[in-house]
Amino acid sequence: MTISRRTFLAGTAGAVLGMPALMGRAQDATIRIASILDLSGGLDIYGAPMDVTTKLAVEDINAAGGLLGRRVELITYDAQSSIQLYTQYATQAAAGDRVAAVHGGITSASREAIRPTLARFQTLYFYNTQYEGGVCDYNNFCTGSTPAQTVAKVVPYVMNKWGKKVYIVAADYNYGQITAQWMQKFVADNGGETLGVEFFPLDVTNFGPTINKIQQAAPNLVISALVGGAHVSFYRQYAAAGLNASIPIASTTFGVGNEHKLISAAEGNGLIAAYSYFEAVDNPVNRDFLARLDAKMGASRPGLNELAVRSYEGVMLWAEAVKLAGTADRNPVVEALRTGLTYNGPSGAVTVDPKTHHCIQNVYLAELKDQTFDILEAYDAQPPADTQLVCDLVANPDQSTFFFENGLAAAGIK
């Protein structure tokens, strides 16, 4: 028998048309969540590891029998480092897929693009990235660290170790600008002096003039909030000029894009960074977590950082809340999270702060040695003190705002 093109088309068309009906029945059996991350384009150095851990979290939930007797289905969207696609996929996930929750967003710009959309559709939103703080939104849980958690710890530590005179270099967009303000505040609070602040557009690859200026100012240390692939060049040119030996660098951004693998050991040694997670965190959950990923992915396992691990913990926090609420509907799940829910993840205990919908979390300081971060200090259960200054979702839950200017004002910076 021969299959003509016509019969083939008729047959497949029937099969394809029949699919939605089958999928419609399958929907009832699963709880769906969406992940929107940059898996291609310039931001994929951040997004690719986050995608790996988000998928692992869903696999772990399903391996443990799912939630409320139902399987969890993950729908992954690649926003391709384009803000326009974030808005489009957020709408698709909320209105089309009718997911129970959306996890994702990397830059603050992408978060601000989808946060209002998801609030409007009343679709629960988790932003699992470290950021500048200040979001105050009933519908949005920001699980990553903020300046009052990381910058507040690393600045006094390095000033004590290296000296009081500081030079700041940062990326020229809202994250870098706001974080640089917090850095100056913490330098002043600890009796130090900021000799200079420079901002760099994200596509700058030649840092020579700034490296000269730093030498001219002769600070004791440099604090960096540089972001993205192009800015990796700063650390290389800084080392090439021999400055890494005399003026050490501290950072709250270096490492989350696995930048420490993109520069050689000699160039990076001695740099100190602050995050809520490093691979070297020593607890049984983390050892097991790393061992399972190694077994699964072998040599292709990406380096894990705060963004990747918090993506895992963000999904797990949501899952705990669903279990506690006994439903995946938004309002009961939000209320379950707001009881001060805790999840013990690879980074340690992560607890939701009901006042800000941010997380109380451990913060670690680590020193880079041979392309690996060795932990120097651990600070348990750090509150999001910056956002707490301006946000109170317990007293006034009906909010969906971003208070970055107010945050700086409340802290006495501006």
Binding site: S40, G41, G42, D44, I45, G47, A48, S81, D172, E198, F199, F200, P201, D203, V204, T205, N206, F207, G208, P209, T210, I211, N212, K213, Q215, Q216, G229, A230, H231, V232, S233, R236, Q237, A239, A240, A241, G242, L243, G257, N258, E259, K261, L262, I263, S264, A265, A266, E267, S300, P302, Q371
Partner: protein, 289 residues
């Protein structure tokens, strides 16, 4: 005094850096009039060749001076034969095709090597001391290499038969063809050489910049602005464009900051093209190469 020397060295490096990322494009776009939007990805491929081969144990100099231009040159020849050859004289179509090529190359490198690849190389030559300032010896070396590269391209265009035939073909392909030149072959060789020079530039920059599949995007705009501002003469144009724009950017970065440095470069290019629509060599040094 030491400040003046250190600043002058940085200005010179800024100019050399701009010339290095642009000179391959000057051959492909300035000379052949092919809008190559995959130029940034050619630079990236040069850098990746160096990172991947040095990770495998290859000597850094061999990787930079032989393998990077060789690999990207071969990619250039293949691209010309498969894609560009069919689109000569169709500028908008070339623009679209090379944009697609740029996306394809980013996608290919990402699927083969992942979103980022660890590196083991540091810039050689250590540091040089200028009074109380220290500067990178490798940057000084790059200034020298850029000048040597320009000299080599000039010598090829000026003194070899290939250079003469290539220039003749670009000026009037029909006449060259009538005189017995295989213009199709000349186009292929010129495009391949432009790609090889770009690969070399990408390889040279690899030890001192971040090498990622998407890094090409940070170079492409500046390379086009430099070549267009320079005008039709390949070498004099690239040199004039780099000196003017790199100089202005450097001075403004020193005086204000990196953001205004970038802004100053763009404003300078706009003003320049308003006054001299055909670029610097459209008005001055018109007879130069």
């Amino acid at each position: 005094m030491d400040l003046v020397v250190a600043v002058a060295l940085q200005l010179a490096y800024g100019i050399a850096n701009l010339a290095l990322i642009s000179v391959g494009l000057a051959i492909i776009f300035g000379m052949m009039r092919v809008i190559n939007l995959a130029h940034g990805e050619f630079l990236m491929l040069g850098g990746y060749t160096v990172v991947v081969t040095t990770n495998a144990g290859v000597n850094l100099w061999l990787a930079v001076f032989v393998l990077a231009p060789l690999v990207v040159g071969i990619v250039g020849v293949l691209v010309e034969r498969i894609l560009i050859r069919r689109l000569y004289g169709r500028m908008i179509d070339t623009l679209l095709a090379t944009w697609g090529l740029s996306l394809l190359l980013i996608g290919l490198v990402t699927s083969i090597f992942g979103a980022s690849t660890a590196t083991t190389i540091s810039p050689p030559f250590g540091t040089i001391q200028i009074g109380r300032f220290s500067s990178s010896g490798y940057e000084l070396f790059l200034i020298g290499v850029t000048m040597a590269l320009a000299l080599a391209i000039w010598a090829v265009l000026r003194f070899t038969r290939l250079g003469l035939v290539a220039r003749g073909t670009m000026q009037n392909a029909e006449m060259a063809s009538a005189l017995g030149v295989s213009t199709s072959r000349i186009y292929m060789i010129t495009f391949g050489l432009g790609a090889a020079v770009t690969g070399l530039a990408g390889g040279l920059l690899a030890p001192i910049t971040g090498v990622l599949p998407t890094i090409g995007a940070t170079y492409i705009a500046k390379a086009f602005i430099t070549v267009i501002s320079g005008g039709s003469a390949i070498l004099a144009g690239t040199a004039a464009g780099s000196v003017l724009l790199g100089g202005i950017q450097g001075v403004f970065t020193f005086l204000t900051g990196p953001t205004f440095g970038e802004v100053a470069l763009l404003i300078a290019a706009i003003v320049l093209l308003r006054l001299m629509p055909r670029g610097i060599t459209g008005r001055f040094f018109r007879k130069s190469l």
